[in-house]
């Protein structure tokens, strides 16, 4: 849902504004509508300026800066726009580090503004002073400290350009208090479109496209694995056209999920440690592997020296550093997939791969019998996470945005959620940040208020950022919160069961009465543990006009399968505990 940025104003008459005001004017020119933040001493002049921008900029006051940055991430993921965060100096800025690391590894476009002490106090261990620039250097795409208001327009322009272009990422701008207060002559804002040392997108080389098409056309068992690059490139249509013409079985990574509907005839499921049986096993049987907008993360590849060694690998990616980083590509197609995919589509033959595709369906049948049936339609009394997701699919028609936290519930949700719409699967992939879901769901609700946002969170993860219930209480975004409570830090417990002889070391976490806590925050809720109550309780949650918290007590020692054990080949994917 794009908000049109106002047309660039012609060079206007110079007007005297403070640095803080100039910052906000720049934001408006960049099409910013929503800011997630938390004030403090060092960022007060900006907040003072913000007071007069109430009609133009919406600010959501969170309960912890980590909540602000995860909310901005959720906003960015769902809307495709750049997320904006405000935090003060010192602890405010350091509270952003987890979110910056998360956004960095998952390529989410963010612009974070942190206040900083007066320039003359830098390096004196002043009150709430920290060396934010150096602390956040490894976890930002770019960062900069502004000590003079005159720098603000150009630096902000640069920040927005860097955050959203090429492979997106988080940018942090640290503005000293004097710069925020300093008066300057502001005569118009100019967007940044070029930085001489930065090449976000290359000119595409046709010979590599031709080579790729040649390989694909000659392939007998081609296989496509795609990731978030398709979403980041806003190339869902181009991607769909490519797979439909080439007729190639297509699997997704956890972050790529929903770029094509989950029931697309060419979709064969998810790759990864807890992905589907077929995509993992048949990776080592294909003859051409086409990787699009994915980075061969270790959760996807398993043991690298046994990953697709028999196949020719075509790698489409916008980041040249990713090509050959983990897996050597036979044909590197460096470029923006929105440009490269149509070029490739034009050259590939229209085909079907019936027999090869049937191998995936056969694997799916085995997985259905051994794993999926019991997970989605359990026969004993214990509620499974899978059946909760199945009910959610049925009740939302695959139209909801599902935001997951980290753990077993995340894997189950990603395996079984059904999506008909892009940008529907919001989760912390590369960093696996527990506590991500609740604030990200708030951001998601702002990012696309036309769709229903459902947060699926474990009993561990919810307690990490539970204070953001306060943000929901105050600003009333519509977020459906489902806590899948198995009274354990489930994923760690599973590994302790499988690999550490069931030595459950500190995974039995106790939780408060979540419904009572929600009530304290003015959020209605319910808790169910019986199958006969589940569906109605979920329906009540979804139909409720406003945020709602539903706790579902699920099986305590259920495990997520299939699994590619760590350090094993993707061919060694196991369907049950007995096979490990």
């Amino acid at each position: 849902m794009e908000k049109a940025a106002p047309a660039q104003p012609a060079q206007q008459e110079a007007v005297t504004l403070t640095g803080g005001q100039v910052l906000l004017e720049a934001f408006i020119q960049e099409g910013v509508s929503t800011i997630f933040g938390y004030p403090g001493g060092a960022i007060m002049p900006i907040y003072d300026a913000l007071y007069d921008y109430n009609d133009k900029l919406e600010h959501i006051l969170v309960r912890h800066e980590q909540g602000a940055i995860h909310a901005a991430q959720g906003f960015a993921r769902v809307s495709g726009r750049t997320g904006i965060v405000f935090a003060t100096s010192g602890p405010g800025a350091t509270n952003l580090v987890t979110g910056l690391a998360d956004a960095m590894i998952d390529s989410t476009p963010l612009v974070c503004i942190t206040g900083q002490v007066f320039a003359h106090l830098l390096g004196t261990d002043a009150f709430q002073e920290t060396d934010v620039i150096n602390i956040t250097m490894p976890v930002t795409k770019w960062n900069y400290q502004v000590t003079d208001a005159e720098e603000i327009p150009a630096i902000i322009a640069k920040a927005f350009y860097i955050a959203a272009s090429g492979r997106p990422g988080p940018v942090l701008i640290d503005i000293t208090k004097n710069a925020q207060l300093q008066k300057m002559q502001f005569s118009g804002y100019k967007k940044c479109t070029f930085i001489r040392s930065y090449r976000p997108k290359p000119v595409v080389r046709p010979e590599y496209i031709e080579e790729a098409a040649r390989l694909i056309n000659a392939a007998e068992r081609p296989f496509i694995v795609y990731g978030q690059g398709v979403l980041l490139g806003k190339a869902e249509e181009e991607f769909k056209a490519f797979i439909e013409k080439s007729g190639i079985p297509t699997a997704w990574t956890i972050l790529g999920m929903s770029a094509i509907p989950t029931d697309h005839p060419l979709g064969v499921g998810m790759v990864g440690m807890h992905g589907n049986y077929g995509p993992n096993k048949l990776t080592n049987e294909c003859d051409v592997l086409i990787a699009i907008g994915m980075r061969f993360d270790d959760r996807v590849t398993g043991r690298l020296d046994m990953y697709a060694t028999q196949a020719k690998i075509i790698h489409l990616d916008i980041d040249p550093a990713e090509i050959d980083k983990n897996v050597k590509a036979d044909v590197p197609v460096w470029g923006d997939c929105k440009e490269t995919l149509p070029l490739l589509t034009a050259l590939v033959d229209k085909k079907l791969h019936g027999a090869w595709h049937r191998k995936f369906t056969d694997c799916a049948k085995q997985e259905q019998e051994k794993v999926i049936q019991n997970e989605l339609h359990p026969t004993d009394e214990v509620l499974t996470m899978g059946e909760v997701i199945r009910n959610l699919n049925e009740l939302t028609g695959g139209k909801a945005i599902v935001v997951t936290d980290v753990g077993q519930h995340q894997m189950v949700a990603c395996r079984y959620a059904e999506y008909g719409h892009t940008r529907s699967n919001i989760t912390s992939g590369g960093l696996g940040t527990m506590g991500f879901a609740l604030p990200a769901a708030i951001g998601s609700a702002y990012g696309d208020p036309t769709r229903t946002t459902v947060a699926i969170i474990g009993d561990g993860g919810i307690q990490m950022t539970i204070q953001e219930l306060g943000t929901i209480m105050q600003f009333k975004p519509n977020v459906k919160i489902m806590i899948l409570n198995n009274c354990f830090l489930g994923m760690v417990r599973q590994w302790q069961q499988l690999f550490h002889e069931k030595r459950y070391s500190f995974v039995n976490i106790q939780s408060p009465d979540f419904v009572m806590v929600a009530k304290g925050y003015g959020i209605p809720g319910n808790s169910v543990s019986q199958r006969e109550d589940l569906r109605d309780a979920m329906k009540t949650m979804l139909d409720h006009d406003g945020s709602y918290l539903l706790e579902v007590m699920v099986g305590k020692e259920n495990n997520v399968f299939p699994m590619v054990p760590q350090g094993k080949s993707v061919s060694d994917i196991v369907l049950s505990r007995e096979e490990i």
């Binding site: 620039i133 150096n134 250097m137 490894p138 795409k141 770019w142 960062n143 900069y144 860097i162 070029f194 930085i195 001489r196 040392s197 930065y198 090449r199 997108k201 290359p202 000119v203 080389r205 590599y208 080592n284 690298l304 020296d305 046994m306 990953y307 060694t309 028999q310 980041d319 040249p320 550093a321 050959d324 980083k325 050597k328 590197p332 460096w334 080949s569 061919s571």
Partner: protein, 206 residues
């Protein structure tokens, strides 16, 4: 199942010189250094200074690593927004010098012919002569500098300091033209764009 066979040659550690051109901005040194420290790679020597183009700095760094590691590190460096270009080369591909200064008691040089001959043999230049000490400098390769320092030790080497390596790449054409291309308002089409795809194992550019 066939195991993926990485070329063994590329896995052997070797001395590499990495040349980086960056904007002359605060913080670049840290941004680049952390790419190495993150991988627990020791920077054997680092030289940073202005390049032949105004506003652009040139880094010369020496590390001891396998080629495939160096290639990946080079790409990560070039990914940084304010890095213009990265090159990585083995010793055979560069012309390099390192400098050293030696502080020796003047008495020794005045009285011992052997020392005078030693200094002449290594082509040492005099920097400063004082009553009590004299400072010499030599320029050359590490082994030559090591040898002279070791040779001077028994005669009373008071102090010794060496510089980092600076290197010129035999095959390069310098940065001046490349920067003029970079400065064009529109990203230009020339080979600078996709060279890396041709020479993926060598010179890297974006």
């Amino acid at each position: 199942m066939k195991l993926r066979n990485f070329e063994t040659k590329r896995k052997m550690k070797k001395e590499f010189t990495i040349t980086v051109y960056t904007e002359n901005h605060v913080g670049l040194l840290t941004r680049i250094a952390i790419i190495f420290s993150r991988r627990k790679i020791n920077l054997e020597s680092v030289n940073v200074g202005p390049s032949e183009v105004e506003g652009i700095s040139r880094f010369t760094m020496v590390i001891n690593e396998a080629e495939e590691v160096v290639q990946k590190v080079a790409r990560q460096i070039e990914k940084q927004v304010e890095v213009l270009k990265v090159f990585f080369n083995t010793d055979e591909e560069i012309v390099w010098q390192e400098m050293a200064m030696y502080k020796v008691p003047t008495k020794v040089i005045a009285e011992q012919v052997k020392v005078e001959r030693l200094l002449r043999q290594y082509g040492a230049n005099t920097v400063v002569i004082r009553n009590d000490y004299t400072v010499f400098e030599t320029t050359g390769h590490k082994e030559e500098i090591d040898a002279l320092a070791e040779a001077l030790q028994p005669w009373g080497l008071i102090e010794f300091v060496r510089s980092a390596r600076i290197a010129i790449i035999k095959a390069s054409e310098g940065m001046h033209n490349a920067v003029l291309e970079f400065e064009a308002a529109e990203p230009s089409e020339p080979a600078a764009e996709n060279e890396f795809l041709d020479k993926r194992d060598g010179v890297f550019t974006m």
